[in-house]
């Protein structure tokens, strides 16, 4: 099999296909919906096809030289394939859910085009083997997310979209300056060349700081996080995409790509990044405990959980990195599930205020159970997948001896249990407070959240499979992390 073609297809199909969707809509709207799902699924299947190569220990690379010293490089190593599979799979479920969710809104062509392009840009970013290419895809996600957050076109929504765009753009520009400073030092944007070059000549701390600003703004970490709760005005499947599959995971991924597989961080950063992450985890978890808008609560929860992922990736310990990578998978599944549940609730009750809801478990039992499953996974309760990732992150952090950071995150984990139970109890248990007889109207939406909930459980029971794959990723990082 031509694996380079497979790799090219994972990126090309969604990126090019996105623009064909409005044309397909001329045939029939149903065809367009399924075409959108097909494009994302194709991308997922092609990513899966790369796995045998990875298991055999070979990376797939596409390389072509461009004028002016630039080049076009796509690299599929274990980390990239892992991320691509996770993102495209979760996106596919979210598109399935959109069939039900988006069906009674206008501008559906724009929606599907943007969503598929969004995923395509993510795939491009994941496989990008060159900083400029990475930056280009990075900005495509910014533009598509801007359009998607302001999808409903109300004035307030557009302002939120602008805020998201401006904050992430600000970070991205600083990151670009960081990239240029790396270029000045190493003479190349190609990650493979940079990797060789920095072995003798470490990257300056200024460049790292600039890149970190970009990463933190994209991954919504304190103090660049407030755009994410505001982005909750977007349609629910979009927020699920932003939180679980694509946008905030970009920052985390680029962190792993640059600081774990390309060059190593100075000791200072192994303390500084976890401290920022810890503050972020606690502050946002505390805010989640006071908000009353269900989507804002879950958004703050993402900010908080991203802190855990950063702890795992940055503390400089193999077990913690493994935990951080598993966290990306488990958090993606569970958080997508939570947002999609919130979408079902929001559509059927016409409110997002949890203090006005109650007793929904009687009329929406599947949604309630799915929400509970996903919440357990985020809390890290066995046998759900989140347990293992949380344990590994904590155990790895303990091994580095930074016990104060561990205890700070412990507070974050306490608060996680509290705010998720607060939402669950107010929304699903107790007396029904709203007069509306909410029903689970759309079976396709309910099915998609059920799939995610079950996967959160299955991911925990068969943890050895993802864990085995993560070990291959770690083998690639050998020498960079301890």
């Amino acid at each position: 099999m031509r694996y380079d073609l497979v790799l090219l297809n994972t990126v090309l199909i969604p990126v090019a296909g996105a623009f064909i969707l409005p044309l397909v809509a001329r045939i029939s709207l149903k065809t367009r919906d399924f075409a959108a799902l097909g494009l994302v699924l194709a991308s997922f299947v092609f990513s899966l096809l790369l796995i045998p190569q990875i298991m055999a220990g070979r990376a797939v690379i596409i390389f072509s030289q461009l004028p002016l010293g630039f080049n076009f490089v796509l690299t599929a190593d274990a980390l990239a394939v892992f991320m691509a599979c996770v993102s495209s799979f979760i996106s596919a479920i979210i598109i399935l859910y959109s069939f039900g969710y988006i069906s009674h809104y206008e501008n559906q062509n724009e929606y599907y085009t943007m969503v598929v392009l969004f995923l395509g840009a993510m795939m491009g970013l994941v496989f990008a083997g060159n900083l400029i290419l990475l930056y280009v895809f990075w900005e495509i996600t910014a533009i598509t997310s801007w359009r998607l957050i302001g999808f409903f076109r109300e004035k307030k929504h557009v302002i939120c979209a602008d805020k998201a765009f401006l904050v992430t753009m600000f970070g991205a520009v600083l990151m670009l300056i960081g990239f240029i400073s790396i270029f000045q030092q190493t003479g190349s944007f190609d990650l493979a060349v940079i990797k060789e070059s920095v072995k003798t000549n470490p990257v300056s701390n200024l460049a790292i700081a600039l890149i970190l600003v970009g990463i933190f703004s994209k991954s919504a970490t304190l103090p660049f996080h407030t755009w994410l709760p505001d982005a909750g005005v977007a349609p629910s499947p979009v927020t699920a995409l932003l939180h679980a599959a694509i946008l905030v995971k970009i920052g985390v991924y680029v962190f792993a790509r640059l600081f774990l597989t390309t060059f190593s961080l100075a000791q200072f950063w192994h303390t500084a990044v976890p401290i920022i992450a810890a503050i972020s985890a606690i502050v946002s978890a505390g805010a989640a405990l006071r908000e009353t808008d269900i989507k804002r609560i879950i958004a703050y929860s993402t900010v908080s959980q991203i802190g855990f992922i950063f702890l795992g990736l940055s503390i400089g310990n193999e077990l913690a990195v493994a935990g951080g990578l598993l966290y990306i998978l488990m958090h993606g599944l569970a958080k997508a599930g939570l947002f999609l549940c919130a979408g079902i609730i929001e559509q059927n009750t016409k409110t997002k205020d949890i203090t006005k809801l109650g007793g929904l478990i009687k009329t929406m039992p599947v949604t309630a159970m799915a929400f509970l499953f996903c919440a357990f996974s985020v809390m890290g309760i066995p046998p759900f997948g989140g347990f293992f990732s949380k344990y590994m992150v904590f155990a790895g952090a303990v091994e580095t001896g930074h016990l104060w950071i561990v205890f700070a995150f412990l507070v974050g984990a306490f608060l996680t249990i509290l705010y998720l139970f607060r939402v669950f109890n107010l929304v699903f248990l107790g007396e029904a407070r709203s007069l509306i007889q909410a029903k689970e109207k759309s079976p396709i939406m309910v099915t998609s959240v059920a799939i995610l909930a079950v996967l959160s459980l299955v991911g925990g029971i068969f943890i050895n499979y993802p864990c085995g794959f993560v070990q291959i990723i770690l083998a690639n990082m050998a020498g960079i992390i301890k």
């Binding site: 006071r290 344990y391 306490f414 109890n425």
Partner: protein
């Protein structure tokens, strides 16, 4: 090979039964009951077959020393057998008790999952596996309480939050222990206390004592007693949690860390134990509800176990472990009698009961036996284990001994009150038609009550066969704790205390005129009454205090977050507008102004070129 499969079956069998009930039998209550009964019976048979064996199961799993390893040896086999016995008897009891209740199939699913997870906890020989099953119990705990009455979910949440938070502490403890000892295999861990190891010890202990329901992690138990289904109380807080919590506590203190009499951690444990004994029993004394009174005793008794194991002397440890199994026996039986009363009269409020002893003679006899056991009357089992704990406590300090004996006084007093108020006295009119419960509810009570006598009269059986090997010859130091207590002074004090409790009761009933008011003179004593008032209003509930603190933290966090948001939404916007306004002002269309700018620019360019 076959024995390894049998070992796995201990976990898998209840799991399969649970899944079967959940998916196939959900609409068929009879099949559900049959599946639950047969699964618990098979589990009991398995436990008996495997009782004498030593089996290890090992399978590599996740790397980093996180292997799937199980180990059955004398200690775990003992606990497995106890768990199996209780689950079968209580399943038998539940068949009648739960019949017709809503969420029947959910109840059995959680029941069987609890059994599977509990077996997993006891068998696991890897810290991660232990944590996996241990935290998994949270789910079934939540579920079992939540299916109770209408507001039970709030208690379920409370229980989940308290136990969940302590489990997280234990998670850190486990990570730290694994790191310090370089292995995750429990049977290979042997750390000296001190420094980080002490921290790991404390974190693990938090998990263990929270599971066993000790203070300050107790406050969900009395609430659950009122709201959760009764078999849950008999199964989980009365039996399973004590067995699991104290099992793990013992493993921590004896195997994983060497707790010795010189360690401050030993004192800490004894203080936790003593405080739990006295505070919980004081609360139990004033309760006017059958189940709620028992639930406070479920907390108080765990204090004796922690005190005993915390003494780190052989007599105390043996006493603590013996008390664990004794307490599981009489406490679950007491809850079952409470359930029988509830089933037949429809209430557990003591004010509406009275005189039903003649209507329910077998239940009453079971109650008497177990009440005598818990009060520590010879020759029932509770007497012997308490004497051993006293012996250990006295070796470590008079104050611990005095508190433990004082605890006994109040225990005896409150059971005299409970028995008198519920079973003796005047029969209320509405209870005239009350009859004895059916045989399958009586059988578990009778079996457990008989065991209470056997474990008392033939106490060499549990002490020499079950508990002796746990400490091992070297640690026992040649002591033989079976038979009648050697220290006659302790026995005399205990008997005097019991007689005092009896006299106190008779006196109080005569003065106040009714059994239910037998504790009023203590309840309304000068200083105590103020404290009791506040306790009844939940001023001292650690959960509420913790929640208040959390609320304050979250308020601060929320304000921080809003402040950051203000920078984006207001400050940056204002600064941008101020800046652009300034620029705008400069572009006012005036020629002279533009000329000045041009000249200024020209000058700067010239200056740059000259340099």
């Amino acid at each position: 090979m076959i024995d390894k499969l049998l070992l796995l079956l201990l976990i898998i069998l209840p799991l399969i039964a649970a899944v079967k009930i959940l998916i196939i039998f959900r609409k068929f209550p009879k099949l559900t009951e049959a599946a639950a009964l047969s699964a618990t019976l098979l589990n009991l048979l398995l436990a008996i077959i495997l009782f004498k064996s030593e089996i290890r199961f090992f399978a590599p799993w996740l790397g980093w020393g996180l292997d799937f390893s199980l180990r059955l040896y004398h200690f775990s086999a003992f606990i497995i057998l106890a768990i199996a016995g209780f689950s079968f008897l209580i399943a038998l009891y539940s068949v009648v008790f739960m019949r017709g209740k809503p969420c029947l199939n959910q109840f059995y699913v959680y029941f069987l999952l609890t059994l599977a997870f509990a077996n997993g906890v006891v068998l696991s020989d890897n810290l991660l596996i232990l944590l996996f099953f241990w935290e998994g119990l949270l789910l079934t705990l939540f579920g079992m309480i939540a299916i109770g009455n209408k507001n039970a979910f709030q208690v379920a949440t409370k229980a989940f939050i308290i136990v969940g938070i302590t489990d997280l502490c234990m998670m850190i403890g486990i990570a730290l222990t694994g790191y310090l000892s370089g292995t995750m295999a429990i049977s290979q861990i042997n750390l000296p206390l001190g420094g980080l190891a002490s921290l790991a010890f404390i974190l693990l202990i938090i998990g263990a004592i929270s599971k066993s329901g000790s203070m300050p992690f107790h406050s969900w138990i009395p609430d659950a007693a009122m709201d959760a289904p009764l078999p849950f109380m008999a199964l989980i807080p009365a039996a399973f949690e004590k067995l699991l919590g104290i099992y793990f506590l013992t493993r921590i203190c004896l195997d994983m860390f060497r707790l010795n009499v010189n360690s401050w951690l030993s004192i800490l444990l004894m203080i936790v134990g003593a405080v739990t004994i006295i505070l919980a029993v004081m609360m139990a004394l004033i309760q006017k509800n059958y189940k709620r009174l028992l639930s406070y005793h479920a907390i108080s008794q765990v204090g004796y176990m922690i005190l005993g194991i915390g003494t780190a002397v052989p007599a105390g440890i043996v006493g603590g472990l013996f008390h664990m199994i004794n307490n599981a026996l009489y406490k679950s039986c007491l809850f079952l009698t409470g359930g029988a009363v509830e089933k037949q009269t429809g209430t557990t409020n003591l004010e509406e009961l009275g005189g039903i002893g003649s209507k329910m003679p077998v239940t009453f006899i079971c109650f008497i036996i177990t009440a005598l056991s818990i009060s520590g009357v010879p020759p029932f089992n509770g007497f012997f284990s308490k004497e051993l704990v006293y012996d250990g406590a006295l070796q470590r300090g008079n104050i611990f001994y005095i508190i433990a004996v004082l605890g006994s006084f109040f225990t005896a007093a409150s059971f005299l009150k409970l028995g008198h108020a519920a079973f003796l006295g005047k029969l209320q009119e509405k209870n005239n038609n009350v009859r004895e419960v059916s045989f399958s509810m009586l059988l578990p009570m009778i079996v457990i009550a008989l065991l209470c006598i056997v474990f008392g009269v033939f106490n060499y059986l549990p002490l020499n066969k079950l508990i002796g090997p746990i400490l091992g010859e070297s640690r026992l130091g040649g002591h033989n704790f079976s038979g009648f207590p050697v220290n006659m002074k302790l026995v005399v004090v205990s008997v005097v205390v019991l007689i005092a409790a009896l006299l106190n009761h008779i006196f109080a009933v005569r003065v106040k005129g009714s059994a239910i008011k037998a504790s009023d003179h203590i309840h309304h004593a000068p200083v105590l009454s103020a404290i009791y008032d506040r306790a009844e209003k939940r001023f001292f509930d650690p959960y509420d205090i913790g929640m208040n603190i959390t609320r304050k933290i979250s308020k601060v966090a929320f304000l921080c977050d809003k402040a950051i948001d203000w920078i984006y939404n207001v400050l940056i916007v204002k600064l941008t507008f101020a800046f652009t306004n300034e620029i705008k002002r400069l572009h006012n269309g005036s020629y002279s102004m533009y000329l000045v700018w041009s000249l200024l620019g020209l000058f700067l360019v010239a200056a740059f070129l000259v340099h």
